[in-house]
Amino acid sequence: MQLHVGPQLALQHPAHLILCPTTSSIELASVSINSTASTYPFTWHVQSCNCIEPQWPAEELLMKYQYISDFFIALAYFSIPLELIYFVKKSAVFPYRWVLVQFGAFIVLCGATHLINLWTFSMHSRTVAIVMTVAKVLTAVVSCATALMLVHIIPDLLSVKTRELFLKNKAAELDREMGLIRTQEETGRHVRMLTHEIRSTLDRHTILRTTLVELGRTLALEECALWMPTRTGLELQLSYTLRQQNPVGYTVPIQLPVINQVFSTNRAVKISPNCPVARLRPLAGKYMPGEVVAIRVPLLHLSNFQINDWPELSTRRYALMVLMLPSDSARQWHFHELELVEVVADQVAVALSHAAILEESMRARDLLMEQNVALDLARREAETAIRARNDFLAVMNHEMRTPMHAVIALSSLLQETELTPEQRLMVETILKSSNLLATLINDVLDLSRLEDGSLQLDVGTFNLHAVFREVLNLIKPIASVKKLLVVLNLAPDLPEFAVGDEKRLMQIILNVVGNAVKFSKEGSVSITAILAKSDALRDSRTPDFFPIPSENHFYLRVQVKDSGVGINPQDIPKLFIKFAQTQTAGARNSNGSGLGLAICKRVSRMVTKGLLLHLGCDVTTVGSTHECLRVISQDHRVVFMDLYMPDGFEAAVRLHEKFTKHHERPLIVALTANTDKVMKDNCMRVGVDGVVLKPVSVDKMRSVLSDLLEHRVLFEG
C-alpha cells in the first residue's frame, strides 16, 4: 500500500513509517486513524507500496538457515540437469530423452522456485510474489506431470535392471560352459593324441610305456604305474612306472579288497594313497600325498572275441593302472580327468589285444612255414626213397629173371626130347617150380605196385577145383618127405569154374599151404575150401573187411589147418606184413636171417653146430682164432667159442678190436664147463657177452639164443 501523505495532513497520531526497500517508498506500518473526525475533508491518497511482508523477520536464525538451504537447493537443482545433459550427451544410447527434458524442466523449475524463495525472506514486491507464484504453479504442473510420467517410466527402468541382471547371469553361465567345453575339447585332444601314440605301435611294451608317459604328461601326474598279473594269476607285479626306470619286481597278492574293488567296475576308482599298490615312492615325512586313482585294464585274448559281442566278464585277466597326483598340491581329481583315464584304459586294452593278435598270427605263420618246409622235405625224401626202391626192384628183377628164363627155356626144351616117364615127371616139376619162381619174382614188383595202387589183376575164366589140385600136387612131395598127411576138402557147392586171376589165387594158396607144411614137424595139414555165406563173412579178426554180397560174385573161404608149433597170438597181425619176422628164436630162422656162428673146438663144435642147425640157424665153423677173424663178417650175429682154446680169450679181444662199433660186432658167447667167479671175471674182462655152461641141450641152446637176441647179454649160472 502506498501512502501519500499530503501536506495537509498532519499526523497527529504516532505512525510507524517504513521505508519499503523494494519500492523505496515509505510504508505506513501501522496507522491508527481516529475516525471521529467525520469530516475528512481530504481524500486519502495513500499510495502505499504493494510490498508483501514475510511472515517472520528475516533476521531470525531459522530464517537464515532456510535461506541458506534454499540457496543450496537451488544450486543443486540447477546443476542436476546440467549433469544429466552432460552425461546423456556422452552416452551412446538413451531412450528417454523427452523424459530427460521433462525431468529437467521439473528440476529447473524447482530450482527456480527455491531461488525465488530467497527473495521472499525479506520484504518483497508484488512482482516477486507474482513471479514466485507463477514459478510455483509451473513447478506444480511439471512435477505432477513428471510424477505421472514416472509411474510409467520407473517400471521400465526397473525391468531394464532386471534384464541386465539376467544377462549378467547368463553371461556368467556361458562363461562357465565355455570353460567346460574348452576343457573337454582339450581332453579330447589329449585322448586322440594318446590314442594315436598308443595305436601307432604294435609292440606291447611300447604301448604300455607310451600310455604312462602320455598320461603323466597330460594330467601332470607325479607317478603312474602299471601292475601286470603274473603267470600264475595270483599276484600283481609292478611292471612299468613313469618315474623309475627299472622297477624292482615288487608283487602284491591279487586278492586284496582294494584291488577287487577296482577290478569290479570299469570306472576309475579313487583309492587310498596308503594301500600297497599306491605306495610306489618312499614317503618322506612331510609329504601330503596327492590323490590316487586306479583303473583296471582288461587283457584280452583272441578267444575272447565273439562276432557281435564285446567280451563278457568271464575268466579274465586285468592289469591295474595307478595314477597319482602330485603331493602337496591340493589338486583333486576332476570328473573330466577321470573320464580321460577311463577312455585311455579302454584304448590300451584294445591296443594290447591287437598286439597280442598280431603276435599270435605271426607265430602261427612261422609255425606253418616251418611245417611246410618239413613236409616238403619229407615228401622229397619219400619220393627219392620210392624211386630208389623202384630202381632197385627193376634191376633185381632183371637180374633174377635172366637165369630164371634160362632154366625155364632149357627145361621146356628138355621136355621136347626123349625122356623116361620118371624123367618127364621130374622135368615137369622143375618147369612148374621155375614158373612159380618166375611168377614170384614178378610179384615182388607187383607187391610194390599193389602198395602204389597200380596192381592189375589178370582176370580170366579158370577151373577152381583144378587150382586146388595143382597146389596139392606141388606140395605133396615135400609133405611126404616130412611124413605129413595133406588133406583137401572142397565143398560140394563150390563152383567148378570161376572168373578171376588164377595165377595169383594159386600163389596165395600155395604160400599159405607151404607155410603150414614147412612148420609142421608131424601130423597133418588140411585144406578146406567153402563158399562163404554173407553172415559168415564178417570176421572180428579182420575188421577192415566189408564184404558186399552180390549176384555176380562169390566169396571163397580157404582154411588151412596144420599141427605145427603154432603162431604166437601176438604175431598173428604181423603175418601178412611183408618181411616182418617173429621173434621166437630158432624155429623161425629157416629163412636164413644170417645167423652165422663160428665155433672153435671139434667135437663140441660139431655138437653145437648140430644143435644150431637143428634150430634152423646158418652155421659157419672155424678152427682157430685166425680163421675166425678171417671168416667173420657183419652177417654173423653170434660167435660161440670154447674157452679152453689155446687162444680163447684172445679171440674175444681181437673181435672187439675188429668191430669197434657196438652194433656191428657179433655177440660173443663162451661155452665152458666151468663157471666159477674167476672165469666169469675173465670173461667180462675180455668183453664176452655171455657164458653158457657145457653141456648144452637143444632147449638150453634155444633159450640161450632167444635171450641173447633179445637182451644182447647172457650170463648163466
Binding site: 667135437v603 648140430g610 637143428h614 653141456p695
Partner: protein, 152 residues
C-alpha cells in the same frame, strides 16, 4: 612089422642099459634128438669124430707122460680137452675119469696119471664098442624102413 618093432625095442633097451650103466648120460639123448631127417647121420658123425679125437688125445697124453720131466700142465690141457669133448657127446664115464685125471695132474702124481690114462683108454674102447652095436642096430632099423627111436 614084427621085425621092425622088435628091432626098435632092442634099440631102446640097449640105449636104456647104456644110460643105466652110466656109459652115456642125458647129453647123449640130446644128441640123438638132433638127428632128424635133415641130418640123418648126425650122431654117427659126432661119435666118429669123438673117437678120433679120443685116440689123438690119448696118444698125446701118453707121449707127454713118457718124457723125463713131465709137463703136467700140458697133460692137463689134453685131459681138459677130452673132458670137454666127452661131456659134449654125453660120454659120462669118460668124463668122470677125466675129472679124476685132472686132479692127478694137479697133484702132479705120476702114478695117478698113469693109472687114469689106462682107465681112460679102457673106457674109450668100451664106449666105442657099445656105440658101434647101437649104431648097427639103428642101421638095421633104418634098413627095415622104420625111424630110429629116441629115448624120451
Amino acid at each position: 612089422m614084427d621085425v621092425l618093432s622088435h628091432l626098435r625095442r632092442q634099440a631102446i633097451e640097449y640105449t636104456a642099459s647104456l644110460h643105466r650103466e652110466g656109459f652115456v648120460d642125458d647129453q647123449f639123448t640130446q644128441l640123438q634128438k638132433l638127428q632128424d631127417d635133415s641130418s640123418p647121420g648126425f650122431v654117427f658123425e659126432v661119435v666118429t669124430l669123438f673117437f678120433e679125437d679120443c685116440e689123438k688125445l690119448i696118444n698125446n697124453m701118453r707121449r707127454a707122460l713118457q718124457v723125463q720131466t713131465v709137463d703136467y700142465k700140458q697133460v692137463d690141457s689134453h685131459v681138459h680137452q677130452l673132458k670137454g669133448s666127452s661131456s659134449s657127446i654125453g660120454a659120462a664115464r669118460i668124463k668122470n675119469t677125466c675129472v679124476t685125471f685132472r686132479d692127478c695132474c694137479e697133484a702132479q702124481s705120476f702114478e695117478g696119471c698113469a693109472r687114469c690114462l689106462d682107465r681112460v683108454t679102457e673106457e674109450c674102447r668100451l664106449l666105442n664098442n657099445k656105440l658101434q652095436i647101437l649104431q648097427s642096430l639103428e642101421q638095421q632099423i633104418v634098413a627095415a624102413g622104420g625111424s630110429v627111436p629116441v629115448l624120451q
